[in-house]
């Protein structure tokens, strides 16, 4: 009998072969070799598995059961938001194929476009908000402070008033208000960004070095991360930028689509002496944030796990991640008791969401304080138009500053006719609201006050139900308004409890009267109120006598034109014991920015009147509540232009 295995010691007692072959079964050498080969492979495979398990990257881990709920994440997992949260979700139309912006299509379907003329269109340009001289702008990029100048970069189309052919615009300012346009900082001239020099962030290193990480859309339309740095650090204007010869520094990890990987954040320095940055993506329908670690900004390691993920939120654009307190904090600050803000731009509904939580540097996780208002399903920076926003730490004045892209809400055709589209919001300081502990406060940077010219004050004016009172302030297209309101206490007490909540978007605007609201101001209104943009509070007495307050901006009658957005924006806003209702409104031609309760809730609207323009624009105080008087104290400043213009060396 032939020996089945060469070299095997002869043994009168056969051990059974794997598979239970009986002694006496012969002529199966091939099968035996095959099975032995499999066994060898199995052993080798398991060994490799254990060996590589030492440092799994996020992509490997994502296959594990721990993250199974995220993989299955879908629309059904979006949690309902409790009414007491400061939220007012935008219409969820996008999933059904209708963007929020297109609501006006159906509202005005079958109606002619408005015959805009040059006078109306040119009035729309702002006096003190950042915008290029012409063409399209979107995301703010790489904001920073360097050698006495604030730098601002932005997504720009050099050839049209619509998105496309994106490059980096650049401007500088000494005070975040008076800007000088500079030449383009980066254009699409490399294979790795030839299809778009997309968004990115600056990191100013302690040694004075500046690094810029940005997304390039490559010649194959893949989203790659790239490094750029100033050509000449002694030039305070940082006119010229060098793209790192070793670009791209990062390609999409294998577990995500090559087109779901963009907008790297500013880096933060860890206790382990490394730099880290975050970047958003999506896996199935779960929005996620990866973190990469680096020593030199040229070589990176993808950290295991995800900084955070929320099922059902889709692609996370423009992730931002930073520490907060009642003061501004450098991006690298960390420690027990330090809260971190996680923020992203939700591709699906074009809104910016944030949440407050705790960062565990060692575990590379961030956990929200209140999971029911996690990022993407809770609080927004702004309840109007505000997207792709980004903060930076201003070492000059030790504050955290927020930039946000304000898109148009008129028709794209009108944008083409007028030759430009989009603004940036007035930069805002961002701090933690220590009174509530659960939201941020945003406030226009104090430098905007340098534009204030003459003012008019209206002290403790009592406004009866149904009153509209003109405020004689002269020109009413560039204004800084500060107002405080008090509802008559007896009226509040006498009012019965309402059985329904008030929601700005469905509340019917300023003309639908309730017992304790609406009341506030009408801006960009004409004398006979055929056009008006009410900014108002609406108070409802809820169960057990508690007052619920909403702040809204009503565009429904903002213009007689039909091809502009007519929604009512706004949100519920917490008002604490002893607080008066307070408003700040910046009006600058076609933009109205509202800050309520010291910036606890913000609403940015784009408004396009056809008559309430130039010298015909007015501002009114109104009270449309049925039961209560309102006492109002208001101060209104005329605002100067910021004379934003190209830099001229002479």
């Amino acid at each position: 009998m032939a020996e089945p295995y060469p070299g095997r010691q002869e043994d009168p007692e056969y051990a059974p072969l794997a598979g239970g072959a009986e002694p006496g079964e012969r002529h199966r050498p091939a099968k035996a070799i095959f099975l032995a080969g499999l066994a060898v492979l199995l052993v080798v495979g398991v060994t490799i598995g254990f060996a590589t398990h030492e440092s799994p990257d996020s992509c490997t881990e994502l296959n594990s059961s721990r993250l199974a709920p995220f993989r299955e994440g879908g629309e059904g997992l979006r949690r309902p938001v409790p009414s007491e949260a400061v939220v007012e979700l935008a219409p969820r139309g996008v999933k059904e194929g209708v963007s929020a912006k297109s609501n006006r299509i159906f509202a005005g379907a079958g109606v002619r476009g408005f015959p805009w003329n040059n006078s109306m269109l040119s009035w729309q340009r702002t006096a003190f908000h950042f915008q290029p001289e012409k063409n399209w702008m979107n995301d703010p990029n790489g904001p920073m402070y360097y050698k006495g100048w604030y730098h601002f970069f932005y997504q720009y189309n050099p050839g049209a008033a619509v998105w496309g052919n994106i490059v980096w615009g650049h401007a500088v300012s000494e005070d975040l208000i008076h800007w000088l346009h500079l030449p383009l900082a980066m254009v699409a001239d490399q294979w790795y960004d030839i299809n778009g020099v997309w968004s990115g962030s600056a990191t100013v290193l302690p040694n004075g070095r500046v690094v810029m990480l940005y997304t390039g859309s490559s010649n194959e339309s893949m989203q790659l991360q790239n490094l750029a740095y100033p050509a000449n650090l002694s030039d305070p204007f940082l006119l010229d930028w060098v793209k790192h010869p070793g670009n791209p520094v990062l390609a999409p990890p294998p577990c995500v689509d090559k087109q779901d990987f963009r907008d790297p954040t500013t880096a933060w320095y860890t206790s382990g002496g490394k730099w880290r940055f975050a970047i958003g993506s999506k896996i199935n329908n779960t929005g996620v944030s990866f973190v990469y670690e680096t020593d030199d900004f040229e070589n990176y390691q993808l950290l295991p796990g995800l900084l955070h993920a929320v099922p059902g939120t889709g692609m996370w654009e423009c992730v931002d991640f930073f520490p907060v307190s009642d003061d501004g904090l450098d991006t690298s600050v960390n420690g027990p008791g330090v809260k971190h803000v996680m923020k992203m731009s939700l591709d699906e509904d074009r809104n910016d969401y944030y949440a407050i939580g705790t960062y565990d540097e060692e575990a590379n996780t961030w956990v929200p304080d209140k999971p029911e208002i996690d990022v993407g399903i809770g609080i927004r920076y702004d309840y109007g138009l505000f997207y792709a926003s980004k903060t930076f730490y201003d070492q000059n004045k030790r504050r955290r500053i927020l930039w946000g892209w304000i898109t148009e809400s008129d028709s794209e055709a009108a944008d083409v006719l007028k030759g430009w589209a989009s603004l940036q919001g007035i930069p805002r300081t961002v701090v933690l609201d220590t009174k509530t502990g659960s939201n941020l406060l945003q406030w226009p940077v104090e430098e905007v006050e340098s534009l204030r010219l003459s003012s008019k004050e209206f002290d403790r004016v009592v406004v009866k139900p149904g009153t509209v009172a003109p405020l004689h302030v002269g020109t009413a297209t560039q204004m800084d308004i500060v107002a405080e309101f008090e509802l008559d206490k007896q009226a509040i007490e006498a009012t019965p409890e309402a059985d329904a909540e008030y929601v700005c978007s469905t509340g019917g605007g300023a003309s639908r009267r309730g017992a304790l609201g609406p009341f506030g101001l009408l801006v960009l209104a004409d004398d006979d109120l055929s056009e008006q943009t009410p900014v108002y509070f609406y108070v409802v007495k809820g169960s057990n006598g508690t007052l619920q307050t909403s702040i809204c901006t009503d565009q429904s009658r903002s213009s007689v034109a039909t091809d502009v957005n007519k929604q009512v924006y706004g949100s519920f806003i917490p008002v604490l014991e002893g607080e008066k209702l307070s408003l700040r409104i910046l009006v600058d031609h076609s933009i109205v920015e509202t800050f309520a309760q010291g910036g606890r809730s913000c609403i940015t609207a784009r408004v396009y009147p056809t008559k309430a323009i130039y010298g015909a624009a007015r501002v009114f105080l109104f009270n449309n509540a049925t039961e209560a008087n309102v006492k109002a104290s208001i101060k209104i400043w005329q605002m100067n232009s910021a004379f934003i213009r190209p830099y001229n060396p002479q």
């Binding site: 194929g97 297109s102 002619r112 476009g113 998105w163 859309s217 699906e348 028709s411 794209e412 055709a413």
Partner: protein, 173 residues
């Protein structure tokens, strides 16, 4: 006769199955994609008429639809030129001129960002600009004061195609 080796027979059978299965795989993509749009029948007919319709890539279906929007915009522009050359009454002339401007803007300013958006993976812009194109077509029709315009079919086609293109892009968000 020599017996055909078993593995060879199996392989041939498998190949046949694969070939039979392929077209229905991409036909499913058209059906699945068009189901999510407001005009599914229109969507299916249009996409199947294009050789690129057998793609397995949803953004490509969106691009095909944007091409239809563009082609129709250009041919409608030509029709309008024709009609304007026939001395219409002032009301019709005004409406036609306004439509001419609108269709020009669709081709020059709404199609390019939509194509760029679908190609490069930032889909929200295709949603926005195709919605705007649909809106333009509706407004063009409305400019004729309630009665059917002389370019009614073109306007309806444009509205449908642009709405479908927008919906396809939206499904990718």
């Amino acid at each position: 006769m020599k017996k055909t080796p078993m593995p060879f027979t199996l392989l041939s059978f498998a190949q046949l199955l694969l070939i039979a299965a392929l077209p229905s795989a991409s036909a499913d993509l058209i059906d699945d994609t068009c189901k999510k749009t407001p005009y599914p029948d229109f969507c299916v007919t249009a996409l199947r008429s294009d050789p690129r319709g057998s793609t397995t890539d949803t953004p490509t279906l969106g691009l095909i639809m944007v091409d239809f929007v563009d082609k129709n915009a250009k041919s409608t522009g030509t029709k309008i030129d024709d009609l304007l050359g026939k001395s219409p009454d002032p009301g019709t002339r005004q409406a036609l001129t306004s439509c001419q401007e609108s269709y020009g803007i669709i081709s020059s300013s709404m199609v390019p960002p939509s194509k760029e958006s679908l190609t490069k993976g930032d889909y929200k812009f295709a949603v926005q600009y195709m919605n705007a194109a649909a809106d333009s077509a509706s407004k063009c029709e409305a400019g004729f004061g309630g009665s059917k315009s002389p370019i009614y079919d073109s306007n309806i086609y444009e509205r449908n195609a642009a709405t479908v293109a927008s919906a396809i892009a939206s499904s990718l968000l």
